[in-house]
């Protein structure tokens, strides 16, 4: 069955959640879209100017798969070093 909920939607149809001279982030979350709620997925699109920095942050529970559409970027991710070998001694 096809419902009105199965229509395509546009990420840029809502206002960006973050926006300034250096960048914009548009996002649709499962709370705002039934199709995304079924998948438990959020979708974002980000525009950044050359020389802009998306400030250090972390997502509380979402695993994010990022795809570069246009342009180039340096990305830095921080994790904790595994200490298992030392614990075995």
């Amino acid at each position: 069955t096809i419902s009105s909920e199965d229509k395509p939607f546009n990420l840029r149809s809502r206002d960006p959640i973050y926006s300034n001279k250096l960048g914009k982030l548009f996002e649709i979350t499962p709370e705002k879209n039934p199709q995304l709620r079924d998948l438990d997925v959020f979708l974002s699109v980000v525009d950044m100017n050359e020389g802009a920095l998306f400030l250090p942050h972390f997502n509380s529970k979402a695993i994010v798969v990022l795809v570069i559409n246009e342009g180039e970027a340096n990305i830095e991710l921080v994790g904790i070093k595994e200490q298992q070998q030392r614990q075995q001694q």
């Binding site: 959020f42 798969v65 795809v67 180039e72």
Partner: protein
Amino acid sequence: QEEQPLEVRKYRAELSEQDIFVIPAGYPVVVNATSNLNFFAIGINAENNQRNFLAGSQDNVISQIPSQVQELAFPGSAQAVEKLLKNQRESYFVDAQPNEKEE
């Protein structure tokens, strides 16, 4: 029992068109655009996700820690921590060039 000090592990990459990069939940991340940039992101396990910033004036979780706790967590005094956190007046997206002139 001796406790081993936890060390951070840094992961860096230069990304270009059509590259894919995965950010595990809870891992801090920074993106620096070396050219005009457009990327999209798919967030798995998204329900009630919160994006917590570690710098800037909006949504900065470090600024939400009470000053007594900040003073114990960092070597600097409460005043020094507050001053440092307030230095970055912008939020979310900032200029990657550090300010050469501070007023």
